[in-house]
């Protein structure tokens, strides 16, 4: 393998951390995308999102452990199952809060997150459950300048495809036009003949399903444990704030961008790697309070 140094850092370490940053960025992007879609449409800050990401990983593990259903079917089934739980939460609880302050939605979803995490911790413990990489994606590829584990490459590509597809649906299709219009003026959109309450329910289910999908993708990398969402969600909220609440493109670009920034910080100044995203968030809030891609920016 060809190795060289950049600013005194070996290329292997640099590209290794860049890849790690891209993988983290992929999860930041997928999760913040779902949060942005949900916030835009429901005006709810969905604190359950991290728990729903974790549920995706758990459902994949349960499908394999209890029913013998492997990774590829789980990649479809787990997001659908998690999405259905989202639909139930929206229909039975969240829809009562739309006319109230954001704080009520935040508190409810925060409480739900703690409940879901607690239940799974009681049942399965906190040490983590192994979930194997599918056979097709085992091993790695030598790119000449670095060794790329196949599964991690797959996660980055799959995440990019999901993010860009979601962006396309929202920004370039009739369904997306309904969503954007209903975000601005749901009363008028409903008076045009669109069933807005049903659209809201399906939007929440889809946003939550995206979190579930990210959870399945994460299961072979991080192992399955009840705290995996709680660890991630704070960073994801910072990503959403930096990108601009409700901005789809902002979530994708900022998610991947901040993952890379975090990875590079680990190479050049490791002490700051855990805080760099929050420092950026403070700077963005002071200079562009609506976020880099927010509508009022």
């Amino acid at each position: 393998m060809m190795t060289f140094t950049i600013f005194g850092v070996s290329s292997v370490a640099l590209f290794g951390q860049l890849l790690l940053g891209l993988i983290n960025g992929a999860f930041y992007a997928m999760l913040s995308l779902g949060l942005a879609v949900i916030f835009g449409m429901l005006n709810i800050i969905n604190f359950t999102h991290g728990a729903q990401y974790m549920m995706g990983a758990f459902v994949a593990w349960m499908l394999l452990d209890y029913l013998g259903i492997g990774y590829w079917p789980a990649l479809v089934l787990a997001p659908v199952i998690v999405g259905i739980t989202g639909v139930i939460i929206e229909r039975t609880m969240l829809h009562r809060l739309y006319k109230l302050d954001h704080l009520y939605g935040l508190l409810l979803t925060f409480g739900l997150a703690l409940t879901i995490q607690g239940l799974l911790r009681n049942q399965y413990g906190a040490s983590g459950l192994p979930y194997a990489i599918p056979d097709e994606l085992r091993g790695g590829t030598n790119l000449g300048f670095m060794f790329l584990p196949n599964y991690r490459g797959w996660v980055v590509v799959a995440s990019l495809v999901v993010c860009l597809t979601t962006w396309f649906v929202i920004e370039r299709t009739k369904l997306g036009a309904y969503l954007r219009a209903a975000t601005e003026n749901p009363t008028l959109v409903q008076a045009m003949g669109i069933n807005v309450p049903r659209m809201i329910t399906l939007t929440y289910g889809t946003g939550v399903g995206l979190a579930g999908l990210a959870g399945v993708l994460a299961a072979p990398i991080y192992s399955v444990n009840p705290n995996m969402g709680a660890d991630l969600i704070i960073v994801v909220f910072a990503v959403v704030v930096i990108g601009g609440m409700g901005s789809i493109l902002g979530s994708i670009v900022t998610g991947f961008g901040l993952g890379v920034v975090e990875g590079l910080t680990k190479v050049f100044y490791p002490e700051a790697s855990a805080t760099v995203i929050f420092v950026i968030m403070v700077i963005v809030l002071l200079t562009k309070p609506a976020g880099l891609f927010g509508r009022n920016a």
Partner: protein, 244 residues
Amino acid sequence: MREQTNGADGGRTPFLRVQGLNAWYGESHVLHGIDFEVHEGEVVTLLGRNGAGKTTTMKSIMGIVGRRQGSVVFKGTETIGLPSNRIARLGLAFCPEERGIFSSLNVEENLTLPPVIAPGGLSVETIFELFPNLKERLKSQGTKLSGGEQQMLAIGRILRTGARMLLLDEPTEGLAPVIVQQIGNTIRRLKQEGFTILLVEQNFRFAATVADRHYVMEDGHVVAMVRNAELDQRMDEIHEYLGV
């Protein structure tokens, strides 16, 4: 009411019949049992001063006020218990006073947003004939249009849907005389094509050029019905109601 509406059109079944309509915003009781009817192919206006309840009447017909009671029958279907999306799908289309152009959509997306609910709507080409400005600005952000163009877009988009009854809330408000004239021409053309139109207007002179009948509202009540042909004889009475 000084003149009853019943039998005003030879006993035909009304396209829209509103009876005993009450509406509330929160605790505030805004409409107090209003009655009126609109027949197929008519242009009818609701006239009245600010706060008389004209816009609330429109919103009550569409089912987008806080609470409403009474009866609103459209083409034989009672709509008082229906959500607004189902009311729209019966063939009623609403153009709000604030125009309701979506800033996150371009002109083309705004124009094609309302779903087609029945055959017989105008084609996009016909809408461009009526409002040529829209064709030139298809890719512009909806709210970047001038006030007049936004009004054209707001009217144009409901003509596509196949709805045969249009509720137009103050379509001339704040517009230049030349645009008001263009909207007047459009309303007359729509009437010729068989559309039924309920129009809220403060501009009485404009209303007189397009309408068949006028209902005058005051403090949440309908207080008079005037046929357009009777305007000259009843002008003093109308001026008194409208405070002209």
